[in-house]
Amino acid sequence: MKKTLIFLVASTALTAAIGVPAWSAMRAPEGEGLWPRVALFEEGSQALPLLRVSDDDDRDDRDDDDDRDDDEDDEDEDDEDDRGGARNPAPASTVAPPQNGLFGTGTLPQVKVN
């Protein structure tokens, strides 16, 4: 009889020791109960800005690259001009003067710089 009582008391104590905290946790407000997960996400959210900053840097780097591309484009444009690209007119003596009605027989212009 004593053994039965002892088992009963022990099992009740064990149930109370394990069950009460578990029951308390289940009854706790949602925010409190989620705290560990929130903390986890907050840690994650703290990490994200670092990633974003890193991304921005990367983007800035790419922007810098774009700027360099623009510069290169400008240089190319200059080169094109230097090469006498399509946008520059044909120099004298390489083609006939334009047919604008100002010129007579099409004799090429004679030029001298003193």
């Binding site: 001009d81 520059n88 007119p89 044909a90 004298a92 390489t94 009605g101 212009p109 030029v111 003193n114």
Partner: protein, 156 residues
């Protein structure tokens, strides 16, 4: 034989006016010693109503600077086809540019005006630097420009 003579006479009749329709004209532009880089100059003609008629010469080979020849650029939209074959180097300060062109007689004494626009890097643009009416009596008479041209004259 008669038909050959008739053909020859007809050909001469058709050809001679063609020779008479143009004459060599020398355009002389002397720049002042303005103390800057070489000047871009464009010589062009407007008709009696002031409308752009055509270009005679462009001194300066890079079209990206043509916008500074602002009156000419406004009239042509910077169309480089206007100066294909009549383009040379820019002209340094104090130098004289002498161009001899075969110009149509119809341009003289008919209300046409010859204009010069000028531009120098890092200096003020000078549209309509020179504007002279094209007349036979005005030939050989030098005129002074507004900013960079010390004298301009056309001789024929």
């Amino acid at each position: 034989m008669k038909s050959n003579l008739a053909t020859l006479a007809l050909a001469a009749a058709l050809t001679l006016p063609g020779f008479a329709m143009a004459r060599p004209v020398t355009l002389t532009t002397t720049l002042s010693t303005y103390g800057g880089d070489g000047a871009y100059l464009v010589l062009y003609v407007t008709d009696a109503s002031g409308a752009y008629a055509g270009s005679l010469w462009m001194a300066g080979g890079k079209s990206k600077y043509y916008e500074h020849l602002s009156d000419w650029y406004r009239a042509t939209g910077g169309d480089t086809a206007q100066v294909n074959g009549i383009t040379g180097a820019s002209v340094g300060a104090g130098r004289t540019l002498e161009i001899t062109l075969d110009m149509a007689d119809a341009l003289f004494d008919a209300g046409y005006t010859l204009h010069v626009d000028a531009a120098v890097e890092d200096m003020r643009d000078s549209p309509n630097e020179v504007a002279v009416p094209l007349t036979t009596t005005g030939a050989g008479t030098p005129v002074r420009g507004r900013r960079y041209v010390a004298s301009f004259a056309y001789d024929m």
